[in-house]
Amino acid sequence: MNAFELHQPKDLASAATLAGGGGDLRFLAGGQSILASMKLGLASPDAMIDLSLIPDMKAITVAGGVVKIGAMAKHADVAANADVKKAIPALADLAGGIGDRQVRNMGTIGGSLANSDPAACYPAAALGLGAMIHTNKRNIAADSFFLGLYETALDAGEIITAVSFPVPEKAAYVKFKNSASRFALVGVFVSKGAQGVRVAVTGAASCAFRATALETALANSWTAAACNAVKMSADNLNGDLHASAEYRAHLIPVIAGRAAAAAK
């Protein structure tokens, strides 16, 4: 790992000031993705800003039909939170299926969304539930947040503070695990609620995306059969040593169907 300046601000305003300073800087949330990138030399920031000492960034609240999760809430805390389990069980399940116990004890929702890993789980929930991503500057709808491979709508130095998920009527996330990495080979989040039917796919393309053909199919008939009748194109899907683009294209409706059947 390269040498860097480490800042540990105690409030959001100081973090924002430091982040506005320019240069190659990275935030340190759980460190579960960024430290690996730094060891590989894929990132070599001059400065890191640790967000863990900022108060109020870990809070999890459920009120008025919205589950609001602070950016620094760890996956294990979301998975174990009784209010989240009750309001959106699919979200607690998703958090409880990320990586392994040790990763869930450190990794955060803000870090996961900001990272926009093509195979990450939370982006599917954000898109699949029509979440709102709150930053220190503005609110960004999930639909316009994920732009590409490790690319988001965040400006340089912009800090995610929390994420609001509207409580749906029913939802589920099913992940077909890459058994080596534990990330999603294909993961599908389905939901039905005030924003209609939403289907979000992760693991299959450069970043998470909504599958509109599956949304239409499920809006007509909420069944696995309706999903299985949808043909996904393999164009623009990822092909690698774990699975070809055609295999992923075939898997998406199958996993969406399993999620529809499991939704509660």
Binding site: A3, Q8, G30, G31, Q32, A36, K39, D50, Q102
Partner: protein, 156 residues
């Protein structure tokens, strides 16, 4: 850049000035010379470096020591009683032959100890799922699962 670290390791207060890029496992092994915590991959895949930070199992190769500032850290060396009596989980691994080469064992034992109070009467399948983050190249896991089951029963 150097940072000043203060934390408790196995109940003892430690302070040191280290490079900001120092990982927790580097600090534990190279500064404190507690070499019971192993490094299998250094890429967060194998779990050999698992320790507890404020009671939670984490991979110490995948966090900076600065992230454990002020924390209570427990390594494998902190488990046994002062008179050398093994911790019930260590004793269960010995009794049930839960190790062969022993390289993964400190991480396995630390992960297993964290399950106390979090799972009750886990099935073999649940134990396997809970140890997802720990890889063993020798045993085939069968005896590890038996050991963890016995260890958790002895701890409760």
């Amino acid at each position: 850049m150097s940072v000043n670290i203060t934390m408790k390791v196995n109940g003892k207060s430690v302070t040191a000035a280290v490079e900001a890029s120092t990982t927790l496992v580097e600090f534990i092994r190279e500064h404190l010379r507690l070499t019971g915590t192993h490094v299998g991959c250094n890429t967060s895949q194998c779990g050999a470096c698992t320790v507890h930070v404020n009671g939670r199992a984490v991979k110490s190769c995948n966090m900076l020591v600065a992230q454990a500032q002020g924390a209570d850290v427990m390594t494998i060396e902190g488990l046994a009683a002062a008179n050398g009596d093994m911790h019930p989980m260590q004793a269960a691994f010995k009794e049930h032959h839960g190790l062969q080469c022993g390289f993964c064992t400190p991480g396995m034992v630390m992960s297993a100890c964290e399950l106390k109070g979090k799972v009750t009467n886990p099935s073999d399948q649940e134990i396997r799922a809970c140890l997802d983050g720990n890889i063993c190249r020798c045993t085939g896991y069968q005896n590890i699962v038996t050991s963890v089951k016995a260890g958790l029963a002895a701890m409760s």
